[in-house]
Subunit: 882 residues, 2 copies
């Protein structure tokens, strides 16, 4: 095992071994750019360190050998009293984790070499300032001391000298400050500040390794899905100084504009400064072209380097450089971070310039970034105070006045106000208020709570489960952290980030733009997966089609039963429960008439493309009112006295009896889906008649309706067969009556583990499968998303017990295995079985990739995620082909 590579021994392909920074330094050296020499300690050494708890055997020998080579190249020696070599020691992991890990600069300074540095540079102040900075940085990083101790000591001295900044301290003060710092090290770490530069180097390397596991690095990795066991490399590089006078300076350059993607060089420069001064943002920087008059040669060189690097990396590069006494040094480069808009623009431009091909352009866009472009957001330049943060349930920003009931929200919206509906949680009774509102904010519930699902379906911003909010609905106010927001106050919410602010935060509208359209059109060429949308209304369907949806993979008919139709649905239940069959029939017919319009709108919006209608899958509690609330209403009506009793009270009583009888302990696992259809036999036939009538009308009007009927929550072939018999009978009845037929297909959701386990049987009667991955995940894990998302899931993610929430990204090992079994066995039974997913995972890039790999035919997601899915599907196909 070899632990150390000189820069010239590596290349940009070795990111896993040398880290991103090390690999790119190597590449630049090989390109002949002016890079301060140095060497890289490998990520393997770091992994070995993490396992063994100590630097691996032989590592320091290799480091010292590489150091000696470096000393040879530079003609200087580390710690030497004459013309000392100084080095920087920096982390550099395979994935960029900016600012997360440790850096030590000026390493090699000690009582001897500081004098040599002062002598060589003729700048005693510079030398001692460097020395005190090194002691401070080393103490904090390599010896784990509290950084405040050093800052306090510095502050103390500044005050004592009655100056305003440390820049006014003279060399003697700095010398003294260094002594003070060394005293702190001695007192706190219990050891003398190491004078041996080799010992310094060893400790610094170890500190960088150790910093791989510091808390901020860990949470960054969790956030970015970077594996914990990669480790970081360490780059040891000869120091150059941008702060050695007016012929020196330092800067950062981007080969294109990282905010817009515009093709122009972009960057910041600071004369007579070190890199940290640029980053700190205290001094005002010059633009890149402003440095030209003072550094014409260096500027020209830099332009050359930038062009060379962009050509070489075939991407926008981010370059750190330093000018030391008129000489340009390139310190590091990497592919530059950019906004989503810039990423698209750069990709499109580079295809135009012939730098990359369309495939590469498609692969370069991070699908998750697209969300930024597809929803309004808080203006990134706005300054505001977030008073709370909840779950980012439905993306987009909204501003409005706070109301606490759906009726109030609706009334105020009608009078022209923008309103935000704030509720502890929402229920079907609140849907009209949600429709009226600009956005929804709740204090309870997870990412599949009623509020979250309905808001996403409506494409309306929502922040849910915002536990910090103490909502007093009756009092008409909520409190958060001691602040009180009252009915009518303006707040802003950002469903993309989950943030909530008091007052109006400026919002920027999404601009998908030509570049996105172009990249997606390329993506469509390469993807194999069909991308459909989950949509319940003609409006949603039209929106989805505009986003490129190739059909509706999931139209949830229960959503059509909510809102103003809820009373009809409740009547249907109550009359069934009471055995009042005439009333039941009438309620069903009335629902059918309304549903027919919905179906007509869906078929119109998606004419010529498949529309998959899922028959009713209600969790009962969404349709029946809460028993306790209703009991209260009935009780108080009772108190008002008999004379006052009106028809509505009688209805409440009937509703109460039904709600009581159908109340469930675990509605998620209760009388839902096809089970309800087995209990209420007229339900599905009624829906199918409405659907087929709508389809026939469309066909007669010259349209091309493509109808698919989907049965929810199947557990067995017998059950599905029975449901499909009733579907066929109802359809034939309509066809006979109308003297006209439409072709249609029938299939089933696979959303119980059992359906996946007996998929081979089920496929004998189903023409298609649609994996309902939300429910499948809930049942496979035994996780009620509403219940575990807060307390349990957070803990599991924090502790690394789950790498990512299985509701965000498909659980490959468990749920994925069920899907794989079902696909293989379903297709074995029926080779032309069509298979897709219609859970929210359909819009998650990693899950889309899995769907591609498993040979699914389509994914279906919410309209706004359709572009994301198109891109992710193309990337999966391109990666698989490469």
């Amino acid at each position: 095992m070899r632990w150390v590579y000189a820069f010239e021994e590596g290349s940009k392909e070795q990111k896993m071994l040398l880290g991103g920074k090390g690999a790119n330094l190597a590449e630049m050296v090989n390109l002949g750019l002016s890079v301060p020499p140095g060497f890289t300690v490998t990520t393997e050494a770091c992994r070995e360190y993490m396992t063994g708890g100590a630097l691996p055997n032989g590592l320091m020998d290799e480091v010292l050998k590489a150091l000696s080579d470096l000393e040879g190249k530079m003609g200087k020696r580390l710690g030497e009293a004459g013309d000392p070599l100084l080095v920087s020691v920096r982390s550099g992991s395979p994935h960029s984790m900016p600012g997360m890990m440790e850096t030590v600069l000026n390493l090699g300074l000690n009582e001897d070499s500081v004098r040599g540095l002062a002598h060589q540079t003729g700048d005693e102040r510079f030398a001692y300032d460097s020395y005190r900075r090194f002691v401070q940085m080393f103490g904090k990083t390599a010896l784990d001391l509290d950084g405040h101790l050093f800052e306090e000591a510095l502050q103390h001295l500044v005050e004592k000298r009655k100056v305003t900044t440390e820049a006014e301290l003279d060399p003697k003060d700095l010398r003294k400050l260094t002594d003070t710092f060394q005293g702190i090290v001695e007192r706190e770490a219990g050891l003398e500040f190491p004078q041996d530069p080799h010992q310094q180097l060893g400790l610094a390397v170890e500190a960088v390794f150790r910093s791989w596991n510091n808390p901020s690095a860990q949470s960054y990795r969790r956030f970015e899905n970077i594996p914990d066991d990669l480790g970081t490399a360490v780059n040891v590089q000869a120091m150059v100084f941008g702060n050695r006078g007016d012929d020196s300076g330092t800067g950062v350059a981007f080969t294109r504009d990282p905010a817009t993607g515009e093709r122009r060089r972009y960057g910041d420069f600071l004369r007579n400064a070190q890199g940290e001064d640029v980053v700190a943002g205290i001094r005002i920087t010059q633009k890149l072209d402003e440095m030209e008059p003072d550094f014409p040669e260096c500027h020209a060189q830099l332009i050359e380097v930038m062009d060379a690097l962009e050509r070489h990396f075939r991407d926008m590069c981010d370059i750190e450089f330093t000018i030391e006494q008129g000489q340009l040094w390139i310190l590091q480069t990497r592919v530059g971070k950019r906004t989503a808009a810039a990423a698209l623009q750069i990709a499109v431009d580079m295809v135009g310039e012939g730098l990359i091909d369309e495939r590469e352009a498609v692969l370069r866009i991070k699908p998750s970034q697209l969300d930024q472009l597809l929803h309004p957001q808080f203006d990134p330049s706005a300054s505001f105070e977030a008073i709370a943060e909840g779950l980012n349930a439905s993306p987009g920003a909204a501003v409005g006045r706070v109301y606490f009931t759906a009726d109030e929200a609706e009334a105020h919206a009608k009078s022209g106000e923008h309103v935000i509906l704030v509720r502890p949680e929402t229920s079907p009774d609140d849907v009209h208020g949600m429709i009226a509102a600009q956005g929804i904010l709740t204090s309870r519930g997870g990412l599949v709570s009623h509020a979250a699902v309905v808001a996403r379906g409506m494409g309306k911003p929502a922040v849910v489960g915002c536990a910090g909010l103490d909502i007093d609905v009756h009092g008409g106010q909520f409190a958060v952290d001691g602040r009180v927001v009252r009915r009518g106050d303006v707040i802003s919410i950002d469903g993309t980030t989950g943030r909530v602010a008091i007052g109006e935060v400026p919002v920027v509208e999404p601009e998908p733009g030509a570049a996105l359209v172009e990249v997606l059109s390329w993506a469509d060429r390469y993807r194999r997966l069909r991308v459909c949308a989950n949509a319940d209304t003609g409006e949603d369907a039209a929106q989805a089609r505009a986003f490129g949806a190739e059909g509706i993979g999931l139209a949830r008919t229960e959503h059509m039963f909510l809102g103003e139709r809820l009373p009809l649905v409740q009547r249907m239940f109550v009359s069934f429960h009471e055995g009042a069959l005439d009333e039941h029939r009438r309620a069903l017919d009335a629902l059918a008439a309304q549903q027919k319009e919905d179906f007509a709108a869906l078929l119109a919006a998606m004419d010529g493309l498949p529309v998959t209608v899922r028959l009713l899958d209600p969790p009962l509690h969404e349709f029946l009112p809460d028993v306790e609330e209703l009991q209260d209403r009935v009780d108080s009506a009772g108190r008002i006295g008999r004379l006052m009793r009106r028809r509505s009270d009688r209805w409440d009583r009937r509703l109460l009896a039904t709600a009581r009888a159908w109340r469930e302990a675990n509605p998620m696992l209760g009388t839902r889906g096809v089970r309800l259809a087995m209990v209420i036999p007229d339900l599905y036939p009624t829906q199918v008649r409405a659907l087929m009538e709508a389809a026939i009308e469309r066909k007669r009007a010259g349209g091309d309706p493509k109808v698919e009927v989907m049965i929810p929550l199947t557990v067995s072939r017998a059950e599905l067969e029975r449901a499909l018999e009733s579907v066929a009978a109802a359809a034939e009845e309509v066809f006979d009556r109308e003297g006209e037929r439409v072709e249609y297909h029938v299939g089933t959701m696979v959303e119980t583990p059992r359906a996946a386990l007996v998929a081979g049987e089920i496929a004998r009667v189903a023409e298609f499968f649609s994996f309902g991955t939300n429910d499948l995940t809930q049942m496979t894990f035994g996780f009620s998303r509403d219940d575990v998302e807060g307390r349990v899931m957070r803990r599991y993610l924090e502790e690394g017990l789950l790498p990512v929430s299985p509701f965000e990204s498909l659980d490959i090992d468990g749920v994925g295995r069920l899907i794989e079994m079902a696909v293989v066995e379903g297709r074995a039974a029926r080779p032309d079985l069509k298979v897709g997913i219609c859970g929210e995972h359909g819009g998650d890039p990693a899950s889309v990739r899995f769907c591609h790999e498993q040979g699914l035919d389509y994914v279906s997601c919410s309209p706004y995620r359709v572009p994301v899915a198109r891109l992710a599907a193309a990337q999966a196909a391109l990666d698989a082909a490469s």
Copy 2:
């Protein structure tokens, strides 16, 4: 394909083809017994009929050929005017389904042959009575007419003739009645009564085939788990008549006593009668030996036949015989039905007699029958009116006075009353009342409702989900079908059957007896599966050991948290929720002290045998009070005024806040099991310390504690690993403190589908798996048992959408497949992995068989089911070996 076999062509091995009756008739003919000749139409013909909807081609040709042979043998012809042959046409399926399908007697009678019969027998009355019976039976059976029409006409004639019974009608009346009956046929069926005996025969065969699918046959099959597609055979046999005078008669004989198993011949005889008269039970029968004086020869022959048949079938036989004018005919035989006690006695006796070996004795006992023997039951001879029937949640009968609250029940029990606790449903608050009661009756909940599970655990009779009951807890009464039962009234419940009766029904105590003990001791020799018990207290454990349990497979620690300890548990939650860590620690310590006693008792009762302790797996709602109830309490306390507020009100407020915060929409899929332990980190260590302290004390006292620690509701290896780390740390802490160690093993429940899907990973850290098949079934199907058991499951079973409730008998295709995967992959990762099940399926014979076949190591069930499991395990092993 051959459809028809003469009796002499078959044998008793051909039950599947010829049905049980046909095969045994064939066997008897081959034994040379005096059997009226005939032939059998095969079950294959029936299956063909069910598929094709008509008698298969060629069938009638074969039937008529066989008939012609029969006519040859008898020297008579069907329908002939001279000396006519009459035949019976009877069903006979591979499994006995007594009385479920159709029979036609006296077939062959028409206007000609009736006269021949009258002439030949010299008994006109007999002839016309036979004819009118045939028309009636044929009309009802073969022509699907309403039987009441015939009975009304008969009744009409009896009244008109002013006689009391039909026996007093004279031949002319009967002749007339036959005409009336034929008129009914003509009017109702729209055809003349068929005179052609071949047509009669064809229609009768078809009627028997059709009757395979009549509703009562279908529900019988469902109840007995007989496949729907077996079909029935049809036996056509020459009629003999026991009603041809005093030298004739008919009877039923058992070779041993079917009630007790005693080795004595047993039977009933009726002189001058037909078989249906014996079955009808209207006339008083003679005992078998009472016929000897009048029929010495026939009696001696019968004894010979009985002995021959018992020797031949090596089992107790049930024989139907007829004496026609001095000649004994054996009409059919089969292995006789018997009580559980008789089955055991006969098996033991026959081993003693050398008729069968121990293996066969073990195989002959139906495990499910044992339940009768292990619990008290309503006296079978008692007559009472069942006012309602609920789910048979926990077997056994109980009698007591009705009380509607736990406190009342407890108070009255303390004063010496026997009480039945009647509740809409029970909760942990009711446990003290359940302990005090003789039995529990609820109107809501399914077979895993709180009431059902706790009652089974206590071995206490319970009838749950008795939906007919309208319980008014406050009014202190319940109504059922218009009858009202008040507080203090006596009722009787039978948890074995689910029946409820008003007043005291005599109860018979179980007498397992020596035969059971002997058969079980044989069973133990042959079984491979270890049989353990689910037990939570020392008492239960001792009971289980007495029933032969070889350890505790599941000790549920949450049950130890209920009852009087509930306040402590609630304090533990509330203090944790509030972050009151000292109070939390104290509450945990107090719980630990009490749990230690429980553990000590368990380890004592099972000394030397493994005791598997499952760490806390609470559905939260069992520990925290109902929010609405508590809110009411707090509200009403508030109304009483500030001065009155007491400490308990303050506590209620704290409890309310916690219950509100921890309330869950789907508690079954919520913060349970190991998830709770991840959220409340001190929980499991506290339990483990109590357990290890108890084990060390037992060891020091010279005992042999065998401890296993089980983690519930695991979904991933990482989660299990984390939980087991805390288990090990807590155990080591005790071992260090005490200076003493005990060996222990650690494992996990596999009760989420995901745990089964990633079992290979999980087995790397678990030493054993225990399949929690209740939860696994719930999650695999997405069935909340409490919610679907009533409405949904009943419908599914009735409609044949599920062959049997997956909560009663393991669902092999779905849940079983997960188990199989987990066993195979778990053992691949850890070859010595111990695997068992601890759901209630552990006591279900079919499920035990599956466990044997999958190579599980053990099953664990409730103490009372241990004998059932021992027997079922032996049978599975014997069947597999044969």
